[in-house]
Symmetry: C2
Subunit: 579 residues, 2 copies
């Protein structure tokens, strides 16, 4: 058969041999691990210390370790961390689903707070972390870390750029992680604020980093600040407008084209494709894809979703959630597996102490940077708000601070992209920054998540229940404490199972409706004329929007109640949950 060796014919004809074996192995391992995560996560559902994400993180670490052992300490990676995979395939479904399933009324009610945190807060945090990182670099001495081939003025400038990059990477709350800590059903207010902030600060971060690129730090004046604000407003408005446009287009298209003869597969396909298109177009135009796809999700759930058949509704609702769920689990698995990236650890010639010191400093900076804006801004927001119930009390501020601390896959992806350039292999500061990022991410994810869970039932429980005790009459307290104890039992048992929503429950008792709007109905129970007047501003905006929506938007784009019910299509639970 030696004759064959000389012939220029490849003998790899069929699928089994066409595919690159390493790709097939990587996919098989990841899919198997994903299945394992789901099963284990399900088995540990009762356990307050773990969920799918933590399971995925730990399973990723373990498999990374196994691969490391098998390969004889040479490599721990099956898939190379790939920003494209992350930003093109994994992030869009997660953010879209979040927009699709978000409680719109709650979200827009807190919109001013969200914008305040997302814009001003991110800027404050960015400045503090950048400053801290700059001082850290000064202290460590960048030169000792391998970069000594540049003039002093360059090193000075480089420290600023590094510091600003670190500031931009670490000041952004990871919206994917927020989904893991806060539950929309349990704590609608906190969820909408922290998650909304995570979405909005994507746009802020783009502006900030572009600013760092093009600005001369020795020459900042009011004009520059105004220009930056203008850029931000442009980015924010165009991204939002793009998302809304694509959403409305899908609603209009489906209403006009498919109304008479519904075809479920086409409807679902076009919803998926349009949503994805909005993200890609935003990326193409250098806008904030996250913001765009989030608003596209909101518009789609408000209009498009009501124009499709009942089976399309069920399918879209669950398939978007499933895709998002798989993507999230995949990300955590990936991060876990990537943490043992031996190449980065080897390249980072800095000692373990330096690594830990840098990580600790970064995490401390994140803690301080976040505290520095959450508490002041929450108090400013409180001053503006007229109604007592709308105010953000200290414990809610604490949770906003805490829940937004997590740094996740977005941080790692950005850090890799920023610090893993092959052309500067001589520099050892890059691997150091990557390994420090990984440590911060692992630490913040596992600790914040578990501390959050445990404090909810152990430490905070006491203080909060004590506090609450004074507020509501004694007769309600006992069952509520029991409910708090059992808080992990079922999320659908509504607000009463969480300490934070005890507060909402308090609002409910005291004011007879307000923040509790799971049904999304227009007519909230109005307790008295006086209270109606007190919450006038929000109410007016909402009222005007409803009138505009009913008169102009829904007749064109469809929506709840504006699309004749298809005969025989059952309406019910599915209908209520998403609107």
């Amino acid at each position: 058969m030696a004759i064959f060796d000389m012939l220029p014919v490849k003998f790899s004809l069929f699928t089994s041999s066409i595919l690159n074996t390493s790709t097939v192995v990587a996919i098989t391992v990841f899919v198997t691990l994903l299945c394992a995560c789901i099963v284990i996560g399900h088995l540990l559902e009762e356990n307050r210390w773990a969920n799918e994400s933590i399971t995925a993180l730990l399973l990723g670490l373990v498999s990374g370790g196994v691969v490391l052992l098998v390969s004889g300490g040479k490599s721990s990676r099956i898939l190379v961390f790939n920003e494209e995979l992350f930003f093109i395939y994994l992030l869009p479904p997660i953010i879209f689903n979040a927009g699709f399933q978000v409680k719109k009324k709650q979200f827009f009610k807190n919109f001013s707070t969200i914008l305040l945190f997302g814009i001003i807060g991110t800027i404050i945090s960015f400045c503090l972390i950048s400053l801290g990182a700059f001082l850290l670099f000064k202290r460590l001495g960048l030169t000792s870390l391998g970069i000594k081939d540049y003039l002093v003025v360059h090193i000075e400038h480089m420290k600023i750029v590094f510091a600003a990059a670190i500031g931009a990477i670490f000041s952004a709350t990871d919206s994917v992680c927020t989904l893991q800590v806060l539950n929309q059903e349990e704590t609608p207010f906190l969820y909408s604020v922290v998650f909304g902030e995570g979405v909005v600060n994507d746009a802020t971060s783009i502006v900030l980093f572009n600013a760092v690129q093009s600005l001369d730090f020795s020459d900042i004046d009011v004009f520059t600040a105004l220009k930056l604000l203008g850029t931000f407003l442009y980015l924010f408005c165009t991204s939002t407008a793009l998302g809304i446009t694509v959403g409305l287009l899908s609603a209009f298209g489906i209403k006009t084209l498919y109304f008479g003869r519904h075809s479920t597969d086409r409807e679902v396909a076009i919803m998926m494709l349009m949503a994805y298109l909005s993200y890609m177009v935003a990326e193409l135009l250098s806008l904030s894809g996250i913001l765009t796809v989030f608003f596209c999700g909101i518009v789609m759930s408000h209009y498009t979703w009501h124009n499709v058949t009942e089976s399309s509704r069920v399918t879209t609702k669950h398939s978007f959630a499933t895709l998002s769920f798989i993507a999230e689990t995949f990300i955590f698995l990936y991060v876990g597996m990537d943490a043992l990236d031996i190449d980065q650890w080897k390249e980072s010639s800095a000692s373990a102490e330096t690594s830990l010191a840098v990580s600790a400093t970064l995490f401390a900076l994140v803690l301080i940077g976040r505290a520095a804006f959450v508490y002041p801004l929450a108090n400013i927001s409180n001053c503006i708000k007229r109604r007592d119930g709308d105010k953000i009390e200290l414990r809610k501020q604490f949770i906003i601070w805490w829940a937004g601390l997590m740094r996740g896959a977005v941080t790692i992806a950005l850090s890799y992209n920023q610090f893993s350039s092959s052309e500067t292999s001589s520099s050892t500061v890059y691997p150091l920054l990557i390994t420090s990022t990984i440590i911060v991410v692992l630490f913040s994810t596992v600790l914040v998540y578990n501390f959050h869970n445990s404090t909810r039932t152990c430490i905070l429980e006491h203080a909060y229940v004590m506090h609450f005790w004074k507020q509501v009459c004694g007769s309600v307290t006992k069952p509520l404490i029991n409910a708090v104890m059992l808080r992990n039992a079922k999320p659908t048992t509504s607000d009463a199972t969480d300490f934070a929503s005890l507060d909402d429950l308090g609002l409910l008792f005291l004011e007879n409706g307000g923040s509790n709007d799971a049904s999304g109905n227009q007519e909230a129970p109005r307790s008295s004329r006086f209270r109606l007047l007190m919450r006038y501003p929000t109410y007016t905006v909402h009222h005007l929007w409803r009138r505009f929506d009913d008169r102009f938007m829904r007749p064109v784009f469809g929506g709840r109640g504006f699309v004749p019910v298809v005969p025989g299509s059952p309406t019910g639970a599915a209908d209520d949950q998403t609107s």
Copy 2:
């Protein structure tokens, strides 16, 4: 700012700049075109000359042309044809969905015919096409096509290898294309035979091509043939067993773990992941992934699907169909766009006449190769079958021959993989073969599809209706002809709208039930003891299987009627269609 140029810091921090612009552009263009295909395909639904696939093919051609013009004739490709994309992401959902939605009873009733066509038929076709290609190469003279750097004995051998590769590539029916031509609802028998053949011959092709690789053609004896048969049986059985095992595992897992506390997202996620896992494991073990994932789909629809919640059922049913639909449209778009691949056309220095001659010869070989096994094998099958109604009449044989002629994306992918090796750029026979493949695919897809559609209503209609006229009484004929005329109106109007199923209808009238089993119920109406006896063999196997299934399988793995209905979950249409 010149100072920045010298710094080893990349300024691409955020998503908009992280992503490779060409990737973003390619994805945006493809998603936009997919949306356009769906909308146009929907608008043309009444038109018998087009559907989503043909639209996608033409739209792909047009966009390829536009890109060609814009780039000034340099490139017509946005995405480079990538076998991995095709075999890893696009093919599995299509085949899985086909298995998931296939009418199992119909499929297994015709299983012997399917195996006959899929194994013996493919071998016959392979031999004929290989022989024809060999003679073609001899006639054209391979040396004149650029390969003259080898010894005569090498060229002789090369011709054999080339011919065998061509035989293997062109003898396999493209199961994706079959889905486009035949409709399961309209023509269940023909669909199951032609599609089933396409699934089974994947395994046959692997064996055949491996045989070509390792065999010495001068020394073929009975022992070699037996060895090949053994290899095929091994491949077929292990692939099937793997698919069934994974399917049963998912059924058992979901039944055991999730039964009490249903979680839709997890259920759907685990079904998707397990199905995909079966394909990837098969590829990893060098088995037939297509066969594996197809049987996994069958088992999942029989057991797993009944173990999940009602909303999971609706979601899986439609989301699998949607993913498959998107993948199919994408493939046709891709093939259309790829047809104008200017590089291949340029490299192929052969004249247009040679290209066309090769293409025409190849297509003629496909026609002959298929005819050479469909008609004889159908007649052999008829001899074995006892019942008149089970026999494959001449017109059905014609459709089996015709519908299996289409060659599609699988053919192109294999051809690219086989003939586009960079190391042999001196050879011009490779580009020639690729361009010829593209011509054959375009020609066969557009022509077969349209001829099939038009003949169904124009040419064949006359002959078939005439033939049918003699069979059923005159009073039924008129509405039936009308139904034939309107056959494109709605597929759900069941068998009466298609000439082929007029036949099934005939069976229905004549024998009161048999091939018409849309409901999948156990008790087919039995017209008389005599006929029951006549169809004894099939009935016995089915009966034994049902007993085994009910007694041993369903209690363990769940299934229709063996899982307590979840209170409040509506059962109905969705339940009936997939089983």
